[in-house]
Symmetry: C2
Subunit: 721 residues, 2 copies
């Protein structure tokens, strides 16, 4: 494993350089001027509100994480609690760092717009904030995994022992460490998404009710006490939630690839076809390549984002931002090719071709990675088609608005459902082709391909909410109109670039879950046998149908929680809207609403978040591995179309409303009854896209990761056989 | 097979008696007085509109059916075209007869209310109409299958030959006849549901737009030209569509059970465990019991409905109607036990227990049938809980109405999603238990159990739209208020009893599809091997994900078509609403709108209906049997929760609106802004529950039936292996 030592040195060096760059940017942002006193005050409220929320949230998360870690270490495998903690820690630190950077960057972005009046320079401030979050996601994900591999001596396919349940046959503590690390990231991501979604949308929707239904005020009017909670929500959900979400995807994909490497090795060594030493070498390559690709991708993103940071930007910055993404992707691919050569290129090509069935030898995994990237791009373009006002679907939706709310909702439902097919065809075809090329390992690497430059995509994603907040601050602090023009432009850029990011998030979740399920099946399969999950068995099919229904139930819980919290916040906020407040003579108590939003979100976070962990455990101990395999596949098959539906119908509603607001629908402008119907659509879409849609990915990945962690346990202990 | 001859005599006798009873009732209804001239005229418009629509619709259906039959006979298997035609014919005759009876019964129901002022006597007229449709469904379903079995000498597990493609290995013309018969029923049902849903909801929604949004008139106002098309729609979708839907379920379930009987026999004979002659006898019992149970159930329903027809009814007829259902179910079960004794009781119990694994011997299938019935009842009760104003969910929905349309929709979405879990748990547990008891044959018989008294459930279902139409006629013809009180009461009774019917429809569709998929897998499995569909293979999982997306796409097409047709009908209707019409001086041109509704429905019927047939064929020839297996399972896993969501969210919206209309929501009555929001919910729910939800069942069953028919063909011919 001498070559692996060299790789570790390379990976740790890349991580070290990136972290240094992140810190440099963080302090650079912090030193920038914040602008007027009013801006400072507003930014202070947002920052302290966001921090207070995170603090309370992490108190709960810490207790749950500590309890789970203890259970793992005491009852399952003694080191698995530690690796679980490392995962939770990496995820938490990314969230806190990212959100902190964003809440510094927002006001400095508005101030830069005010002081420089230059779009190019303003973009750089927002992007600098975003790149702190983005690079941290990839750096921490790689760092945690690399640390575990170094501390615990890599992934040993023959490891045994290490605690009570690991004495059971087939339990491998080495695999368990990888999957509990991933699980630590999953659990934190789940809490962040569920709580963040509730926070931001309860605030947003209640602000809308108070303004539009109960008091006939314009949107985001500062007399509505719920407005600031809405600004905070952007940071809580779109920064912290998104960072932990994609960190989880990235880590889950790397760990699934590594677990599949172990399973394949066991299958082929059991079959006894090839030379053992050479097969061991191939095993070593397959198990290392995921983290190598992830680490090299970090270097690619670092260079790509550095390019954007130093390059002079013109008045249409979306070109430069896209360029930064493509430089990151291109470098990642180039470096990934080098990585593939140094790992797979040095192994026995006959084993790769014949035993593993990789027709293209050492190049095969790399081609699968390209396939993954291409499908991510394709899904992004399709998302754009269904949700942007430049294309027919959203325009048709806007044209339905004059017929009333029911027409808007029904048409939006149809667009959402229709938009599912093409992305899923892309996923299906890519699964098919990568499976043909390199079996299940190919599928896992395709997923990793999409996420191998996650640092760049998250940076661009995080750019959006920073620009959005900057615009909100400009509005609330009554900055000159030309400042608002700049921040609006930034906001629009963020919306466009976000579509590609969404494509990668959905596509990689689908691929990662499929890899996790295959790895799950492999984990209960005996050495030398082909992994089988027979859905023609009644146990599996019963599990699958129930798994699908659980996705609906989880969606219902999040939707109900959001709407109930919104109603409570509207009722409390209403009482504050005294005649003095409405006349503009008094400011409403923003803090009270901020605390209420946090209280509601935290109260409603626990049950849905824990559900994803608990279901496969109960299912496994009661009905066994086959039933849980069914659960996972059913949940995945339902969650993928539902997540796309939620995201795209929500996006189309949002943009159809904007289309009417800019006056593009002939005869109906802002304030017309058509606009009111479009606003109804937008409000319905809010919960769909920002609460439910984004949480479904994590739901299925958490379920799959828990199942992977414990499969070898409940393979041995099951109530009903 | 002497005992089978006796059974055929029994079955044909039951069918003959039932058909005689159906005809007797038909002419009895026809002879009843229609009432005033105005009523006659109104009823005439409805009847002739419905007939004209059916005539045009069946012209298209006839062409498609003939073409498909020809293809089957020429290229697949020479007799399979004939059996396909028999299926289509049975389904069509039930639709035409049922709708004809309903359009006679509606006006006679209002007239009976007018002349007798007695709820009890009025109920009997509506039920008499409904029972013609209901009994015809079960009688024709059994008749067609029995005819095929008699003409072609039963189901021969060793049959070969019979046409071009049947020379391929593994193609069994005997099985193909059964599955093409079922496919004939499926195709007609698909056309009826798709066209009927579009017709009725485009008329309904456009009438609503014209009344409420564009002209501020009350619902169902006769100045709106689209109103009569709406009345016709009730007959087209809720009678013809529902009859062909449940006929298809019933036939598909019988045929799936028979196909599974063949598969099990092949598996066990191949394994070589048991005495061949005794095993043949068990085979003969397993393959005959489905039609025996179906035939005996027809007798049970005949007696149950006869009871309701002769018994004196009081002022709360729902007790008597429920009693009629339970007498039918009870008799079916009792007769089914006798049937089980005469078939399975006479075979080698050791083979049943050891080879087939039926722990309870000959009683086992019968117990599975009971399990099916119990789950149907449980799903019905759960449906009632989520959609009736007597319980919390719908009341909570109504309480959200004062907060506006977006809240109503979001809450309704949450209720719909939440309502999925319990029915699916019931289905999952029943699948698990019936699978444990009697393997896949147990699952198929559980499905058949639910449908074994389909004659009674469809009769009660059909009662609803007849009562609804009777009320509409009473309103339009300005009959006295006490008549409307009676018809309203009938309508309410219909709504309550419908919940149980829905439970059976959804539950049996889930079970039937699972049986069809298992049968599909068995059909490509070699003799003596265990049927496996390995979803851990990338081909299968790619198919499953795409299958799920197709369900969304199909839903989107139907939704889009409905809403587009509604807009067109609203625009055309609007032009007719001249000042004279609005002043009540002129009647609008109802016929023009009736023709437009038909034209729209027929134009938009073809593509979605054919899709379900074409997808598995293309999938099979291009990607092979494994991929199609994935498609089927994916489509089923997504369609079940979606169908429940559509039905229950639609039902809750509908009833929340009614809750406000009867003044049960404090402070908000008819015409309040809360009521308007509830109306929006109801309109959104219309498309969901009456167009999409009811079509999803047929979509998955049609796909599965096509796949079953052709599996042995594309097992041999596949482009990409």
């Amino acid at each position: 494993m001498a070559e692996m030592t060299i790789w570790y040195i390379v990976i740790f060096s890349i991580v070290a350089v990136t972290i240094a760059y992140i810190l440099f940017n963080y302090f650079r942002i912090k030193k920038m001027p914040e602008g007027t006193e009013e801006m400072k005050e507003m930014a202070g409220i947002i920052r302290s509100g966001a921090k207070a929320f995170m603090k309370t949230e992490y108190r709960t998360i810490a207790i749950v994480v500590a309890a789970v870690a203890l259970v793992f270490s005491l009852f399952v495998e003694k080191t698995s609690g530690i690796t679980f903690l490392i995962g939770a820690l990496m995820s938490s630190s990314v969230c806190i760092l990212g959100m902190s950077a964003a809440t510094y960057a927002n006001v400095r972005t508005s101030n830069k717009a005010l002081s420089s009046k230059s779009i190019g320079e303003t973009v750089k401030v927002a992007l600098c904030g975003g790149s702190i979050a983005g690079l941290a996601v990839q750096a921490m994900g790689v760092l945690g995994l690399a640390l575990i591999l170094v501390i615990f001596n890599g992934v040993d396919h023959e490891a045994t022992g290490g605690g009570f349940l690991t004495t059971l046959p087939g339990v491998n503590p080495s695999i368990m460490r990888i999957s509990t690390y991933s699980l630590g990231c999953s659990l934190v991501a789940m809490f962040n998404r569920v709580a963040g979604g509730n926070y931001t949308k309860a605030a947003d929707i209640s602000a809308d009710i108070l303004a539009k239904i109960r008091n006939d005020l314009p949107e985001d009017d500062s007399r509505v006490p719920n407005v600031i909670a809405d600004f905070i929500g952007d940071n809580v959900n779109d920064i912290a939630g998104n960072c932990s979400d994609l960190l989880e995807s990235f880590v889950a994909t790397m760990s699934a690839s590594m677990m599949i490497a172990v399973i394949l090795f066991k299958q082929y060594i059991g079959a006894g076809a090839a030379d053992t030493a050479a097969l061991e070498k191939v095993y070593s390559a397959t198990v290392s390549y995921p983290i190598i690709l992830g680490g090299l991708g970090l270097l690619g993103c670092f260079i790509g984002l550095l390019f954007a940071a130093v390059k002079k930007m013109g008045s249409n910055p979306s070109r430069e931002l896209n360029l930064a993404t493509w430089i990151s992707a291109g470098l990642t691919l180039g470096l990934g090719l080098v990585g593939a050569w140094f790992t797979f290129g040095q192994t026995d090509q006959t084993i790769l071709k014949e035993t593993y069935g990789w027709a293209l030898g050492w190049l095969t995994p790399w081609i699968c990675a390209i396939l993954g990237i291409l499908s991510g791009v394709a899904i992004g373009i399709i998302t754009e088609y269904y949700t942007s006002t430049d294309y027919k679907p959203t325009r048709k939706l806007a044209e339905m608005a004059p017929e009333g709310d029911a027409f808007v909702i029904t048409k939006g439902d149809a667009i959402g459902s229709r938009s599912v097919l093409l992305p899923v065809l892309v996923i299906g075809i890519a699964l098919f082709v990568s499976g043909k090329l390199a079996g299940t390992y190919g599928i896992a690497i395709a997923a990793l391909g999409m996420l191998s430059f996650v640092g760049a995509t998250v940076s661009i994603d995080a750019f959006g909410p920073i620009a959005d907040n900057a615009g909100g601050i400009a509005e609330s602090c009554h900055l000159p109109a030309d400042v608002r023009v700049i921040t609006d432009k930034l906001d629009a850029v963020g919306n466009t670039t976000a579509a590609v990011g969404k494509g990668f998030a959905i596509g990689s979740a689908a691929f990662a879950t499929v890899s996790l399920i295959v790895s799950y099946v492999g984990n209960y399969t005996a050495v030398g046998e082909e992994p089988v999950l027979n859905i023609a068995l009644f146990t599996v099919v019963a599990g699958a149908i129930i798994g699908g229904a659980l996705v609906e139930y989880f969606s219902a819980m999040l939707t109900d929680n959001t709407i109930d919290s919104a109603k409570i916040m509207a009722d409390v906020g209403d009482k504050q809207m005294t005649p003095e407040v409405l006349a503009g003579k008094e400011t409403p108590d923003y803090n009270m609403m901020i605390q209420l939003a946090a209280k509601e979100a935290l109260k409603k976070m626990l049950f849905p978040s824990i559900l994803a962990m608990v279901i496969p455990i109960i299912g496994g101990f009661v009905f066994g591995v086959q039933f849980v395999g069914g659960l996972l596949i059913g949940a995945t098959i339902v969650a993928i179309p539902r997540a796309i539906f939620m995201g795209n119908s929500g996006g189309a509603f949002d943009n159809a409303k904007k289309y009417i607001e800019i006056g593009a629908l002939k005869g109906y402008g802002k304030g017309s009854h058509a606009h009111k119907s479009a606003v109804t659509g937008d409000t319905v879409g809010d919960t769909r896209k920002d609460v439910v849609g984004v949480a479904l990915d994590i739901f299925i990945k958490t379920m799959s990761t828990v199942a992977n962690t414990l499969v070898s346990v409940f393979r041995n202990i099951t109530l009903i056989r």
